[in-house]
């Protein structure tokens, strides 16, 4: 009798479990679908010279990674912010502020490289923390807080820089920045691998491990998923939120330092519009803007997707206006790919 009951039961369960296991398999790599697809298309469309596929040439691929490194680093920070259900529109402006800061401190104020960098990173951290406080403590929506933060950071950057990009000359005389700072623009492994790319990869790996293993990350997901439940379970919601915004500010500032190092200048308008690219990368990577669901792996994939897209469009010399169209469509498509997930 009991057998009779359980028997059909078993079948059902196993049936679903195999189904779901396949689904979850797909899941695990879903955030990469878009990247893989775009990559393949890029290889196919790439111009070929002397039988060599230009796109897949190591030089070109490293160019791609270098080109996305700043956006990528920002996007990593943005991922955390979005996971708690927030958003940060100030990242581009903070990048500009940090770029100006490093230039002004080293060139005009004759700071050493490390002091300058540390001050700038601290500034970014504090700026982020303040935004976090405004949104987490005073409950003002992150969108508006960081929209204001964007303008404030730009304002400060323009005033600080005197309204002009501050050029960075290298040397050890006064008004010159330490030569070592210019490394940020160099490539190692006999001129192959750009330093910014390396920094990006390191940051990404650290973030991935942190998100996978830390209790803090659990709290981040919990806040995004159900803030009330998190609070009742003793998660220090406010603190976590503030820290996350601080982290995002810090990473934006880091991107700004790299920016200055790569371009040998800190410009007050640097990084305009980067916030949208970063957010796009995060969403394309399958992180939900409503918070609680997502991954850094996806974000990295999303950033690379955008990089590959820009690169192949350039290699094919697609008309810039048409490029806008194509990018728009690809972004929607890529985001659509993420929707395939059953959840919700």
């Amino acid at each position: 009798m009991t057998d009779l009951q359980t028997e059909p039961n078993e079948r059902l369960e196993t049936k679903t479990s195999t189904a779901t296991s396949i689904v979850s398999m797909l899941f695990r790599f879903q955030s990469l679908f878009g990247l893989v697809a775009v990559f393949i298309v890029a290889v196919l469309l790439s111009p070929v010279r002397d039988g060599a596929n230009i796109f897949v040439s190591s030089d070109n691929l490293f160019n791609v990674v270098r080109a996305v490194s700043e956006i990528g680093i920002i996007a990593v920070g943005m991922t955390f912010v979005i996971l708690i259900g927030g958003i940060d529109l100030s990242v581009g402006a903070v990048l500009g502020l940090a770029a100006v800061g490093s230039a002004v401190l080293m060139v005009n104020d004759d700071f050493g490289m490390w002091p300058a960098i540390l001050i700038v990173l601290a500034a970014g951290l504090v700026f982020g923390l303040l935004q976090g406080i405004a949104s987490a403590v005073f409950g003002i929506q992150a969108f508006i807080v960081t929209l204001a933060g964007l303008q404030i950071a730009r304002g400060i950057a323009r005033i600080w820089s005197g309204g002009q990009g501050v050029a960075i000359a290298y040397g050890d005389g006064p008004g010159e920045a330490p030569v070592s700072f210019s490394l940020l623009g160099e490539r190692t492994f006999n001129g192959l691998v750009p330093i910014p790319a390396i920094i990006f990869v390191v940051i990404a790996v650290l973030a991935i491990l942190f998100l996978r293993t830390s209790a803090f990350a659990r709290h981040v997901f919990a806040i995004g998923g159900n803030e009330k439940a998190a609070r009742l379970s003793g998660v220090p919601v406010t603190r976590v939120k503030v820290i996350v915004f601080g982290l995002c500010g810090l990473l934006s500032a880091l991107a700004g330092v790299i920016h200055a190092g790569q371009l040998n200048q800190g410009g007050p308008n640097d990084g305009s519009g980067y916030e949208l690219d970063a957010i796009a990368a995060v969403v394309i990577g399958g992180t939900s803007l409503s918070g609680g669901r997502g991954s850094v792996v996806g974000t990295v994939a999303g950033a690379l997707l955008l990089g590959v897209l820009n690169n192949i469009l350039a290699l094919r010399n697609v008309d810039p206006n048409v490029q806008l169209l194509v990018k728009g469509l690809v972004i929607v498509a890529a985001a659509g790919l993420q929707r395939l997930r059953p959840a919700s």
Binding site: I54, R158, G165, N264, Q265, N269, D270, N317, P320
Partner: protein, 312 residues
């Protein structure tokens, strides 16, 4: 490609032709890295280049748009290098940030023509462009002519933090020295018509006494004109602009139609760039390191002719 690797300073120093000159028989891929297509002036530059290039069958021009982002422009040039272009034309978004990558191209033996804004150092083949400071100065002097015994005026600046905004402001300041031209208000119009209009409206309210407006480009000047018109002052207050694009929506027409009192042609250098490219690649001759393009004062009297000549 193998042609460039060992050509060292091939594109460089005056006196010898570029190593990659293949004469009339060759086919040449020219990369044009534009700083920002969103600016009418730069869009015009692209047009001039394309039109000029049409006349030369050996040339194939590819244009990229950096959308006012230094980093993007660096990537654009990198991508051109990946495609092994034969010549690079670049209109840099900012000077210093683009210097390194331009040098990289130049050192690869690729001739580099820099338009509108110089990069640092001398790692380029030729610079072609107007002089914003000088144009600002002339605008200032013209203002003195318009008001021999002085005037109160307002200045509408371009986007804060952009080089031309600074240069055109400094130049103008020099230009008005001596004649007691008094700038009673300075506002930012971000190069945009609507911004210029709104800002001008406020200025007119705060300083009804102003007799003229110096706008750092024509679109903002058009905006200012609309504000004046709304206040019924378009007849009494003079507006001068800069750029003088020879297109229907450009400054020359505005002057011809009496909305702007004057404008100063800021040449794009597009034609000249293609000409230089021809000299370098097809004629295998050298080009001067610098070619500064003269500006031209456009007033109601000469507007029609200037427009016609520019479009001939």
């Amino acid at each position: 490609g193998t042609t460039h690797e060992n050509s060292g300073q091939g594109g460089s120093s005056a006196g010898q032709a570029p190593a990659n000159c293949k004469g009339p028989s060759g086919h040449y891929l020219i990369g044009m890295s534009q700083a920002n297509n969103a600016e009418p002036y730069r869009e015009q530059m692209n047009k001039d280049i394309q039109n000029a290039a049409k006349a030369i069958p050996q040339f194939e021009v590819k244009i990229s748009d950096a959308a006012a982002d230094d980093s993007k422009q660096v990537s654009d040039v990198e991508n051109f290098l990946t495609q092994q272009i034969d010549l690079l034309i670049i209109s840099p978004n900012e000077a210093t940030p683009l210097t390194a990558v331009v040098k990289k191209a130049y050192d690869k033996g690729i001739p580099v023509l820099v338009l509108d804004r110089k990069v640092d150092g001398d790692a380029y083949t030729e610079f072609i462009g107007g002089d914003n400071v000088d144009i600002g100065r002339q605008a200032g002097e013209h203002m003195k002519k318009l008001f021999p015994n002085g005037a109160k005026i307002a200045e509408i600046r371009g986007l804060a933090g952009s080089t031309p905004a600074k240069e055109r402001q400094d130049g103008f300041a020099k230009g008005i020295e001596g004649g007691n031209i008094d700038i009673v208000a300075t506002v930012d119009g971000d190069w945009l018509r609507d911004k210029g209009q709104a800002q001008a409206e406020a200025v007119i309210q705060a300083h009804p006494e102003i007799q003229a407006i110096y706008s750092q480009n024509d679109p903002m000047g058009e905006g200012a004109y609309l504000a004046l018109k709304a206040a019924g002052k378009e007849k009494t207050v003079k507006v001068t602009g800069i750029d003088g694009l020879p297109i229907p929506s450009g400054g020359i027409k505005s002057v011809e139609q009496g909305r702007l009192a004057a404008t100063f042609v800021y040449p794009t250098g597009g034609k000249e760039a293609i000409a230089a490219a021809k000299t370098l690649l097809i004629d295998c001759k050298t080009v001067p390191k610098t070619q500064t393009l003269p500006t031209q004062l456009v007033t109601k009297d000469n507007a029609a002719d200037v427009y016609a000549k520019a479009n001939s």
